[in-house]
């Protein structure tokens, strides 16, 4: 039923959400450096890996068992990690700040805007930004010769799907946060995900038990999906990754919308 409400809201009240996006654009226009830094960070990582680390490592085993250059192996993981980080920071730190500190949403809700408008607008903005970052990063990958297949085009919607999944769960988590100290837990969760989700090395370096544990990591599914797309190793297994991320987005979205409603309109 909630999904039905969400769809109805998207179609009839899209204009409300677009006003929330307009506000975020206005703020971004005043803080362009913050916006640019979100793109620059993964590109710096990529240069470091291509020029430095990649020379030392040489080739590694790709998803299809064949050899690929280390930079081509790591680049899609950086794209996935940046999609995750962007969505999570926006939905946790960003939402927490605006809701509890800035009381921004209280001001919005005194107007004809509804909690659904606010939620859709914030998610929409986060996704627009994610889209811009993903396109820019893909361009860099193409220029550096790290894209092996036309399937790579689908890596951009895959990054957006990751944004929905991590953004929805992040938003749900943010509604349970009470103080800035709680937000440190977010960093504590993100770092191991970033390092151990078969991001910088293939999954098969782990023993069997750790491999299974890693497959529970949502970032692992994002990395595996995007890596297969940019390297062109396409198979039905990819749909499993898509399903995992989609399930995250739906469950997170339902919890977030219910919690936001309770908290914003007591």
């Amino acid at each position: 039923m909630l999904t039905g409400q969400l769809i109805a809201a998207v179609t009839t009240r899209g204009s409300g959400a677009s006003r929330v996006i307009e506000r975020d654009l206005l703020v971004t226009r005043n803080n362009l450096m913050v916006f640019v830094s979100g793109f620059v960070e993964p590109v710096f990582y990529l240069f470091a890996i291509d020029v430095g680390l990649g020379r030392l490592v040489g080739d590694v085993t790709g998803p299809d068992g064949g050899p690929v250059s280390y930079a081509a192996f790591a680049a899609p993981a950086l794209l996935a990690a940046s999609a995750m980080n962007g969505a999570v920071y926006e939905s946790t730190f960003g939402i927490f700040f605006k809701m509890r500190w800035g009381k921004l949403y209280d001001a919005m809700l005194a107007t004809p805007l509804t909690p659904t408008d606010v939620a859709l607008g914030e998610i929409g903005w986060s996704q627009l930004r994610g889209l811009a970052y993903a396109c820019a990063f893909m361009t860099v990958m193409v220029v550096m010769g790290l894209v092996a297949s036309p399937w790579a085009v689908l890596a951009i919607p895959a990054a957006i799907l990751m944004g929905f999944a991590f953004g929805a769960v992040g938003m749900a988590v943010a509604t349970f946060m009470r103080s800035w100290v709680d937000l440190d837990m977010v960093n504590l969760a993100l770092l191991p995900l970033f390092l151990f989700s078969a991001t910088f090395y293939p999954l098969d370096v782990y023993p069997r038990s750790l491999q299974m544990l890693t497959q529970l990591s949502p970032l692992y599914h994002g990395v595996a999906l995007i890596r297969s797309l940019t390297l062109g190793t396409i198979g039905p297994g990819l749909l499993l990754h898509v399903a995992f991320l989609a399930a995250m987005a739906v469950v997170g979205g339902i919890v977030a919308s219910r919690r936001l409603h309770e908290q914003l309109l007591p």
Binding site: E22, R23, G102, A110, T111, P112, L113, L265, P266
Partner: protein
């Protein structure tokens, strides 16, 4: 606006307990009461941002439960805390707020200079709101509430935390609004604010309404005409409390003084003098809303 049996509960706590009131078009209506009396909860229900637990409520002839967005479109809201957008300038705050109401860009831009003028912030138009003083932020929030040319403005403690000059400036702006025929609903815990601004008010205490009327009517009904405040030298308080029995129509014993109500202050003064009670000082004054409040709730409003 009509409220009947209006009730709000948060779990075990009853914030508003079955209150009735009417607000007429064009008047200034006040909710007077201490913190925690239920004023803000009432305002939030009227503002269609908080569902009722019980009773009925009509705002601008509509039901907030079903027509929330339509009601909010015609209201201006000045919340207790200044919910300005700290990441935007003064002008952009007004601009984006107008956009939240769905106003066309050109129309919002036309309206901004008038509102800056109204709030006396014209020379701060391009400043970030973070550098504004408390009084300026308050005036910005009031101006922002007017962007949609509302029929009714809700003000939750409009001058709490402001210095005296800033308060007078805000009052002056609110008087200007009433001259334009806008209905104002405000909450306050300041007596002088209620007397200054309200045509009619209700006194709230512990989630209920304990009195209703114009400031003048309330004073006449509950306080009488004149008041004598008597203070005692250190060590003589108890004697003072008991020795003044029978003087005036009513007495209120506070920690530091006794307040005696009556119609003729001269008569009260001479009665106290003849009672033989040792007195440090006596002060005659006109009865005020504070006396009404004291009588109705048995405590002072601002401790």
């Amino acid at each position: 606006m009509v409220a009947r049996g209006l009730t709000k509960r948060f779990g075990e706590l009853t914030a508003v307990d079955a209150i009735d009131f009417d607000v007429h078009t064009g008047e200034v209506f006040g909710f007077l009461g201490p913190n925690g009396a239920g004023k803000t909860s009432t305002m939030r229900m009227i503002g269609a941002v908080s569902p009722l637990t019980g009773g009925t409520l009509q705002v601008l002839d509509r039901d907030p439960a079903t027509d929330g967005a339509e009601i909010r479109a015609r209201l201006g809201v000045v919340p207790q805390e200044n919910t300005v957008d700290e990441e935007l300038s003064v002008t952009d705050n007004l601009y984006i707020y107008g956009r939240y109401f769905g106003m066309p860009r050109a129309q919002v831009r036309r309206r901004i200079p008038e509102l800056l003028e109204f709030a006396q912030l014209t020379d701060r138009a391009d400043d970030k709101v973070t550098v504004l003083s408390g009084g300026m932020k308050r005036r910005l929030v009031i101006a922002r509430a007017l962007i949609n040319t509302p029929s009714m403005v809700l003000l939750d403690e409009p001058t709490t935390g402001l210095d005296p000059q800033a308060r007078h400036l805000v009052w002056d702006r609110l008087h200007e609004l009433t001259r334009q025929g806008v209905t104002l609903l405000l909450t306050t815990h300041y007596m002088d604010e209620a007397e200054q601004l309200c045509d009619r008010l209700v006194v709230m205490s512990d989630a209920t309404i304990v009195a209703e009327g114009s400031p003048r009517e309330l004073i006449a009904t509950y306080a009488g005409r004149e008041v004598l405040e008597v203070r005692f030298p250190p060590g003589h308080r108890y004697a003072g409390w008991t020795g003044l029995d029978g003087i005036g129509s009513r007495r209120e014993v506070l920690a530091d003084r006794v307040i005696i109500y009556g119609d003729d202050a001269e008569q009260l003064t001479s009665a106290v003098t003849h009672s033989g009670v040792e007195v440090a000082s006596m002060l005659v004054r006109r009865a005020s809303l504070e006396d009404v409040f004291l009588r109705l709730t048995g405590r002072r409003l601002i401790e």
